[in-house]
Every structure is written in structure tokens, then in C-alpha cells.
């Protein structure tokens, strides 16, 4: 029974991933922006100069990138190359390959965003749970509102304020970048480098945490409130169980379900959620790479990074589905 479910769920995963890759293939093609011309446009905007026969040049590169072929042919070719593990070239940064760009950016995003997502989840869920817990002191119950209000400030502005006061005025932390300039030729695995990176990651992490922790708290409190009324919690209370036991085993465990879903999704979407902060702090991750690619409609880079998010989100959702019955005994696998 469970095995069939697992197989069906895996088949669904494959189907979702294929559908998403297909949709993502066609989406940027709807845009009026031609990435080849956009490369020369970028050149022209930054230099004021452009090739005299731009349109001919655009055609030459369209042929080079195979963009002159019918769309369905391009699609088949792209799927073929994906199966071979070939993500193609960046059009804007030709001849850099998409695989190369991603390989350099991915570790940064994973590092920064996994840590902050976990922290945010833990802090937010904890505060939310306590805020909904009837026995909490009043000030704890009131904590969610200020956190939500903090989330009201657009992350970009919050980041600018942090940079201005903490880094620029107080000079406590670096204003941006991932490691000290000119000190390291390239990332390396050494203690001084790691400490340096950690120091540079504090402000970006803080920006991310402050701007999202309120939502976690809000969600958890909403669920916690629902669970409180449930008979099993009341029953447990009357049975005189240890309070902390009630809190964790009966109350948090039952209320946390949607939070876990959200956590899985948050992990899946770390690329998207890092965009602004990575950009603002000059943190060389996937988010800012994706941002630049979308603005220029750089097909293959969008596809490449999109592939990562598609896999990450789809797998997270599957993991959630598989974990659900373990977390919530009321659900059985048969409900697929």
C-alpha cells in the first residue's frame, strides 16, 4: 500500500517537473524582449555605442543559438540537451555556460538562505506558538504584532536602513559583498575565509529574518488558536499532564502542520526569496543571477535556474506529502 503510494507520488513528481519545465520553456518566449538584441542594448546603454548593423548581427547570433528555428524544434532540442545534462550558454554572457554560472552562485544562496530560513522558521513558529498558548504572559501574546509590523517595511528599504546605520554610520559590519575584497583570490576552505564570510553574511541574514519572521509567527499563532479548542488538548489538560508535554506533544505538534508545509515550500523557493537581499548586499548568489537573467530575458539562464527551483520546490512538496502522515496521524497515505 505504502509502496504503491510512493510510486504514484514519484510518478506525479516527474509529471509535475516535466510540465513545469515545459511551461518555463515557453514563458520567456512570450516576452517581446529578444535576449540577443538585449545584449547589444545593454552594451549601448552602458557605452552609448552600438554596432552599425545591429539587426544583421542579431540574426547571426540567433542562428548561433538556434533561436531561428521553429519553437517546437527548439523545445525538443532543449529537452534533449537537458537529458544530456547540458544547460547551454548564457546569451547575455556568451560564451559563459549556464552550468558554470550556476555552479558559482549556488553555494552562496544555499548557505545564506538555508540558515536564515531555518532560523526564521524556528523563531517565528516559536513566538507564534507561545503567543497563542493561553498560559503565556500578556507581553508574549502581544509580540506577534510588532513582528508583523516589521514585515511592513519593504525588505529593500529595511536593508538600506541597516546598511546606513550599522555599516555606514557605525562601521560595525561590511556594507556588502561576500568576503573581503582583494584579500582572497577566490573562495577557499580556510578558517579565516569562513569567518570573513560569516561576518559579511550577518546583515543580509538579518534583513531576511526581520522581514519575514512576522509571517511565520502570524501563521503559527493562527493555527495554535484553532488547536487550543480541540478536545484532546482540553482532555490532556484535565488529565493533569505536564504543561511542557501538553505544549509540545499535543499543541505544537498538531498546530505545526501548515507551518511545515510552508517551511518545505520556503526551502524550495530560497532562490526567489533571496533576490532582493542578494542584490542589495552584492551577495553573489542565484537570486541576483536570476534577477539579471529575467530582466534581460536570457532564456537559457532562466531555464537553468528555473530548473533548480522546479526540482527543489517539487521535491519539497513531495517530501511534505510523504511526511504528512507521520506528523498527522489523521491522514492516511491512500488520500493521494
Amino acid at each position: 500500500m505504502q509502496l504503491t503510494y510512493l510510486i504514484r507520488r514519484l510518478a506525479f513528481l516527474v509529471f509535475v517537473v516535466w510540465s513545469a519545465i515545459t511551461l518555463l520553456f515557453f514563458l520567456p518566449r512570450l516576452s517581446p524582449i529578444n535576449p540577443v538584441r538585449e545584449r547589444f542594448a545593454e552594451l549601448q546603454r552602458s557605452t552609448g555605442w552600438a554596432p552599425r548593423d545591429l539587426e544583421r548581427l542579431v540574426k547571426v547570433y540567433e542562428v548561433k543559438f538556434g533561436l531561428n528555428k521553429p519553437l517546437h524544434e527548439q523545445y525538443l532540442e532543449y529537452m534533449g540537451s537537458l537529458l544530456r545534462g547540458d544547460l547551454g550558454y548564457s546569451i547575455m554572457r556568451y560564451p559563459r555556460t549556464v552550468g558554470d554560472l550556476i555552479a558559482q552562485a549556488l553555494p552562496w544562496t544555499i548557505g545564506l538562505l538555508t540558515v536564515t530560513t531555518l532560523l526564521t522558521f524556528a523563531i517565528g513558529t516559536g513566538i507564534g506558538a507561545l503567543a497563542a498558548w493561553p498560559r503565556s504572559p500578556q507581553w508574549v501574546k502581544g509580540m506577534v504584532t510588532p513582528l508583523v509590523v516589521l514585515a511592513a517595511i519593504p525588505p529593500y528599504l529595511l536593508g538600506l536602513l541597516l546598511i546606513y546605520f550599522v555599516a555606514f554610520r557605525a562601521k560595525l559590519l561590511p556594507m556588502g559583498g561576500a568576503y573581503t575584497l582583494g584579500r582572497f583570490a577566490e573562495p577557499e576552505l580556510s578558517m579565516p575565509f569562513l569567518l570573513d564570510v560569516a561576518r559579511h553574511a550577518i546583515l543580509p541574514a538579518l534583513s531576511l529574518i526581520l522581514s519575514t519572521v512576522g509571517f511565520w509567527a502570524l501563521g503559527m499563532r493562527g493555527m495554535g488558536v484553532t488547536v487550543q479548542g480541540e478536545d484532546y488538548v482540553t482532555f490532556a489538560e484535565h488529565k493533569g499532564l505536564d504543561l511542557s508535554r501538553i505544549f509540545y506533544a499535543y499543541y505544537v505538534r498538531n498546530a505545526i502542520l501548515p507551518q511545515v508545509t510552508a517551511l518545505a515550500l520556503a526551502f524550495g523557493s530560497i532562490v526567489s526569496s533571496g533576490i532582493l537581499v542578494e542584490y542589495l548586499y552584492g551577495f553573489p548568489g542565484l537570486g541576483s543571477l536570476l534577477n539579471a537573467a529575467i530582466l534581460a530575458n536570457d532564456f537559457f539562464v532562466i531555464y537553468g535556474i528555473g530548473l533548480i527551483t522546479i526540482l527543489a520546490v517539487a521535491v519539497s512538496m513531495m517530501v511534505v506529502d510523504l511526511l504528512y502522515p507521520l506528523l498527522d496521524p489523521r491522514i492516511r497515505y491512500t488520500r493521494a
Binding site: V16, V17, S19, P28, L157, V225, S269, L295, V313, Y324
Partner: protein, 301 residues
């Protein structure tokens, strides 16, 4: 006191109003939240009557970069907008965008989530497939494509922006509602209802919905806030109504002209304050709604 002393006096039921007032006294979050919201709406409405926002909230209406003064109580920005007029109009516009996109998101999300969770089978399968596919694609890609292809560049309004912002607002809700429904429908009271011959719709509305309300309320607040955030994102990309003095655009201009670094504090303070008030009122209302929807949690102190 008197009532209790006289056993023959007719039992006067307290009026509806009294009941409501009594309840509200026990629920200060709701009161403060609603009052804040009323204040914001009032600020926008009365302000619109007193100030000609159709000119004063736009460039060249005042000298550039004036700190607050008697003539310009909130100061002016670099393009010569009167920030008082900007805030009056901005609060209304931003509120409208949030409400529109948030409502669309929550309604569509709830309906879809309920359909999937309650009926299961192929309905669920199709809906799940659709939401999962859309959720896996980076939201920015969808938004930028929608905004740059479907929307007519010369006619970007707050309505089209709300539309774009709501494109993605429903999926999270749908998925979570579905999960909740899946959990709820296995419970005893639903089985009981089904045994007692209730129809699907009746079960959904009479048994499931009430249980979902606090969660939906929280989601709604989240959706409105999310929609406002999404509209900021679009505005930051130049895909919003660039000429309109929404709060997002105001902050955008302030950032563009380095208002923090230039210490033009008033240009940053007012829009941030407005946002804080909007979000605070929503959060407080949300908290108040929890108590309203779940009487057993009413504060016991």
C-alpha cells in the same frame, strides 16, 4: 446591581449594541485594529476632500525637497510633489491594491483548496498538478512575463497591477486550505454530519468553514500584506503605474534619490509610517478575529 436585587423586574435582554460593545471591551485588539483602519480610511477620504490630490500629489506642484513646514505639513519630494497629498492618495491606492489582490487571492485559493481537499479524486489531481506546476516556477518570471506582455504599457493602472499581483496570490492559500480540509474531513464531526445526511455544500459551509475561519482570516491578512509586497516588487521593476503616487512608488522614488543618505528623513518616514499603520491594523484585526472565531480561546484573565 439594581437588576439583580429586584426579582420581579422583567429580565431586560441587553440590546445588540450593548452586547457588541461588551464584547469589544474584551477584545481590544479588534477595536484598536478597526480604529486604525478607520483612521487610515478617514485620512484618505477626508484628505481627498480637503486637498486637490489630482494635482498636488504629482510632480511640479511644489518646490523640490522642502522639509515639513506650515505650508507643506509633510514636506515635499524632489520632483515637487506635496507629500501630504501623496500620502492621502497613496494610502487609498495602496490599500485598494492590497484589498483587491488579497481578496482575489484568498477567494480563489479557498475555493480551489476546498474543491481539491473535499472532493479529492481527479478534481484534486488536476488542481494539485496545476498549483504545483505554477508554484515551482520562480514567481518573478511569471510576474515579469505577465506584466510585460499582457498589460498594455501605456495603460498601467493600479487595477492591472493588482491583477498581476494576484496571479500568484492564490496558490499558497489553495495548498494550505487543501491540507487543512484533508485533515478536518477525517474528523468525527464531519463523518457524523455525513451520516446525518448533510449535503456536501452544507458540510463545507456549516462544518468545515467555521473551523477554517481563523486560519482564513490569518491568510487574508497575509494575502493582503503579500499583495502589497508583490505590488512593491512590480513597482521596483518599473512594471507598476509609474506616475501614480502609491506608497510603493513613493518609497521607490525616495530610494532612487537616496533620501536616507541625503537625510531627507520626511520622504522616508511618512510612507513607512503609513505602511506600519496599515500592517499593524491588519495584524491587530487578525488577532481580534481569532478570538471572535474561537470563543474557547477568549482571554480568561
Amino acid at each position: 446591581m439594581e437588576l439583580a436585587l429586584d426579582p420581579h423586574a422583567p429580565v431586560t435582554q441587553p440590546s445588540q449594541l450593548t452586547l457588541v460593545l461588551r464584547y469589544l471591551r474584551r477584545n481590544p485588539s479588534l477595536v484598536v485594529g478597526v480604529l486604525l483602519l478607520l483612521f487610515l480610511v478617514g485620512f484618505g477620504a477626508i484628505g481627498s476632500l480637503l486637498i486637490d490630490t489630482s494635482t498636488r500629489a504629482y510632480p511640479l506642484a511644489a518646490p523640490p525637497v522642502q522639509p515639513p513646514s506650515a505650508q507643506y505639513p509633510l514636506g515635499t519630494d524632489r520632483d515637487g510633489r506635496d507629500l501630504l497629498a501623496v500620502m492621502v492618495r497613496g494610502v487609498l491606492l495602496t490599500g485598494a491594491v492590497g484589498l483587491m489582490a488579497g481578496t482575489v487571492g484568498i477567494v480563489v485559493g479557498t475555493v480551489v483548496g476546498f474543491l481539491a481537499g473535499y472532493f479529492g479524486g481527479w478534481v484534486d489531481a488536476v488542481i494539485r498538478w496545476l498549483t504545483e506546476v505554477l508554484m515551482t516556477i520562480p514567481p518573478l518570471v511569471l510576474q515579469v512575463i505577465v506584466a510585460s506582455t499582457i498589460v498594455d504599457k501605456n495603460k498601467v493602472t493600479i487595477f492591472t497591477m493588482a491583477g498581476v499581483a494576484s496571479v500568484l496570490a492564490w496558490m499558497g492559500t489553495a495548498r494550505m486550505v487543501r491540507a487543512q480540509v484533508l485533515s478536518l474531513r477525517e474528523r468525527a464531526f464531519v463523518s457524523m454530519a455525513r451520516l446525518s445526511g448533510m449535503g456536501d455544500l452544507e458540510i463545507i459551509f456549516r462544518e468545515l468553514m467555521p473551523n477554517m475561519l481563523p486560519y482564513l482570516a490569518a491568510s487574508f491578512v497575509g494575502a493582503v500584506m503579500g499583495a502589497i509586497g508583490a505590488s512593491f516588487g512590480l513597482e521596483a521593476l518599473g512594471l507598476g503605474p509609474v506616475r501614480e503616487p502609491t506608497i510603493g512608488m513613493t518609497i521607490r522614488w525616495a530610494v532612487y534619490h537616496s533620501a536616507i543618505f541625503n537625510q531627507w528623513w520626511w520622504w522616508v518616514l511618512w510612507p513607512v509610517l503609513a505602511l506600519i499603520l496599515i500592517f499593524a491594523s491588519l495584524a491587530l484585526i487578525n488577532r481580534g478575529l481569532d478570538e471572535l472565531a474561537n470563543p474557547r480561546v477568549r482571554r480568561t484573565e
